[in-house]
């Protein structure tokens, strides 16, 4: 019978024969192939592959570091120091021109510090510092040649530091600002001269002269502010060799002049309280294109205003090997004449240390002796913590002078780690 023969044949092929029943499967298989094929075709269409992550913007961003910008000076943006203008002998300073900015140099600052006291009881004592820094991001020659009045295109960055030391409260507050010259947000210029970063300004009262000078600065975030009028009690002092101040053994130098004794009068603002104050201030303006040389670690700088009517300024570079590098000592007599003092004549001793909350150990008390001049003084911070823990970290604070002379001053300690 037919059935039997079929049965036999099916047995011959054994278990495999059941696959013969799967003919309709071709269709199902074809459908699947079609589907997969369609998928493959779709995939092969020329479009960019998809990005597969679904994160939103993260809340925590990497903190932008300006230290990088400042620390490496000109090399930072791929420029050589030589691309910028250099402070060289034989180019005397000319005023009022040189009160203004020198954008061809890499960096520049206008510095004002003051030790003031409340004019009414309880006669509280304050220190104040306002500095405006300028950094060139590129040499002038690198700037786009096309003339522009678009200040955003000027490769300059301004940084402002404002600090007030409230001695009685034992508190030192500091604030920092950055801005570019774009939209007139910051700059140095005009007549009378104006040095401004947003609403922090140092403004000359009259054209052609820096002093009398008005300081106005407020920082809402820290609750500090100041409005001071500054008058020169002494003429300006050109530091170094007629304003050329050599900074290292390579011969790198800066242009540097000071107003070592200004009277300061006005109001400080501390958490909304207006405090009428008066005292003495010190103004520096310095510009150069050199950075610390390789062996230099930092510097200590003293500006001391003595009751005798003299000012003692002393700075020294510290080398990485722990030794003292280039240094400079000058005593300005009551008439305003600078009298350089040989370094050997100054005995300098560090009497104490202070470790900052950020973990840096700074020297904290000093003894300065100049036997030839009968000077033997101790310098002591009005407050240990006057660290400027900002984009650039340094210690800048009001100090008191005691010993053979009395007085107040400011000390700057840079490059401690």
């Amino acid at each position: 019978m037919k059935r039997d023969s079929m049965k036999k044949s099916s047995r011959n092929v054994g278990g495999a024969s059941r696959w013969r029943r799967m003919r309709p499967g071709r269709l199902g298989a074809a459908l699947l192939v079609l589907l997969v094929g369609a998928g493959a075709w779709v995939y092969c269409l020329p479009t960019p592959p998809s990005a597969l992550s679904g994160v939103g913007p993260s809340e925590e961003g990497a903190r932008f570091s300006l230290g990088q910008l400042l620390g490496n000076a000109p090399q930072q943006a791929g420029f050589e120091q030589a691309d910028f203008e250099q402070a060289k002998p034989g180019q005397p300073l000319v005023f009022p021109r040189d009160h203004g900015e020198h954008p061809g140099f890499h960096h520049e600052w206008w510095y004002l510090s003051a030790n003031v006291q409340e004019i009414r009881p309880p006669f509280r004592r304050f220190g104040l510092q306002l500095t405006q820094f300028r950094f060139a991001l590129a040499p002038l020659s690198q700037a786009d040649g096309a003339p522009t009045n678009n200040h955003w295109l000027r490769p300059q960055v301004y940084m402002g530091h404002l600090a007030i030391t409230h001695v009685r409260a034992g508190e030192h507050r500091r604030a920092e600002r950055f801005s570019r010259p774009g939209a007139g947000l910051a700059g140095v210029g005009g007549s009378p001269l104006r040095i401004w970063l947003e609403n922090w300004t140092l403004e000359a009262e009259s054209p052609g002269s820096l002093v009398p000078l008005r300081l106005q600065a407020d920082d809402a975030g820290t609750g500090i502010g100041a409005r001071l009028q500054l008058r020169a009690l002494k003429p300006r002092v050109l530091q170094g060799d007629a304003g050329l101040s050599v900074k290292n053994s390579r011969g790198d130098a800066s242009y540097y002049y000071s107003y070592p004794r200004l009277s300061a009068r006005g109001r400080l603002n501390w958490d909304g309280e207006a405090i009428e104050v008066a005292g003495l201030a010190w103004f520096d303006h310095e510009w150069s294109s050199n950075s610390l040389s390789a062996e230099q670690a930092g510097w200590d700088w003293f500006s001391l205003q003595l009751d005798s009517g003299e000012e003692l300024m002393f700075y020294r570079f510290r080398n990485r090997d722990g030794r003292e590098g280039l240094s400079h000592v000058v005593l300005i007599d009551p008439q305003g004449l600078p009298r350089p003092v040989a370094r050997q004549a100054l005995q300098f001793e560090t009497l104490g240390e202070w470790r900052s909350p950020s973990g840096v150990t700074y020297p904290a008390r000093w003894r300065l002796q100049i036997d030839t001049l009968g000077v033997d003084i101790q310098v002591k911070p009005l407050l240990a913590d006057q660290e400027m823990d900002l984009s650039v970290r340094y210690w800048e604070g009001a100090v008191a002078v005691s010993g053979s002379h009395q007085g107040y001053g400011y000390v700057e300690l840079a490059g401690y780690e």
């Binding site: 047995r11 278990g15 059941r18």
Partner: protein
């Protein structure tokens, strides 16, 4: 096997006043009417009757595949017809073997797998020797690894018998197992069914319209218009007496 043993044992299957009807054209057509029936262990019974007389329905009622409209079905002493479906199923799994005319084997399982299925359901391990022995005794060992559709009708039914018996159920129900086979095959299959049932000592209830099978039975019953008519062919005294007892 002595008749006294059978007599003293309780009835494996007991139907009491079972009636069943089907809805047809809005009216209930009675199929079975007040059936009383007892089947005893090891007893081989043939239920005869013309097509459509309700034989299959009776079988379904015993198997728990249908529910009686009235009356009770007891299986192994349990009130089967009142048990839940799950309870019925458990009894069916353990104690029943069922053979139908068609659709006896899972088409997608091989013969061996089909035979293993009741073992698995009863939690028994795969017993190849037992399967082989049973297939051997039914003469279908060679089909062991084949799928049902590769077998002839006779072979299929032999395997179906094997599967119904593999877990040695107390009761085997067969509904026209050879109904679709040619005469020669039917002869062989029926012979094997009777032999195996007797060998295992299972109670067998065979439903057929073929009176020729009656001569192999211990007992012959006949359904006529939904009522049970007893036929006393091949009477063995003890058993008839037992039936009489049951009937009274």
């Amino acid at each position: 096997m002595s008749s006294t043993v059978v007599m003293s044992a309780p009835a494996l299957i007991r139907l009491s006043a079972v009636s069943k009807g089907f809805l047809s054209g809005g009216q209930v057509q009675p199929v079975l009417q007040t059936i009383d029936l007892q089947l005893h262990p090891g007893e081989v019974t043939v239920l005869l009757g013309p097509s459509g007389c309700g034989k299959s329905t009776l079988l379904s009622l015993i198997a728990g595949l249908e529910w009686p409209d009235s009356g009770t079905v007891e299986l192994l002493g349990e009130p089967f017809s009142t048990l839940s479906d799950a309870q019925q199923t458990r009894i069916r799994r353990r104690s029943l073997g069922i053979i139908f005319q068609f659709f006896n084997l899972v088409p997608t399982l091989t013969v061996a797998e089909n035979l293993h299925l009741p073992q698995q359901l009863n939690g028994l391990a795969f017993n190849a020797r037992h399967i082989d022995r049973l297939l051997q005794s039914l003469g279908v060992l060679h089909t062991r690894e084949h799928f049902p559709e590769q077998l002839s009708g006779g072979e299929q039914q032999r395997v179906a018998i094997a599967r119904a018996l593999i877990h040695q159920p107390a009761i085997v129900l067969a509904d026209e197992p050879t109904g679709s086979l040619d005469e020669a095959s039917a002869e062989v299959v029926n012979e094997l069914l009777f032999d195996q049932a007797r060998q295992q000592g299972s109670t067998l209830l065979l439903v057929t319209h073929n009176p020729a099978l009656a001569r192999r039975a211990d007992r012959v019953l006949q359904l006529h218009q939904g009522r049970l008519v007893q036929q006393g062919r091949l009477v063995q005294q003890g058993r008839l007496a037992a039936d009489d007892n049951g009937a009274t």
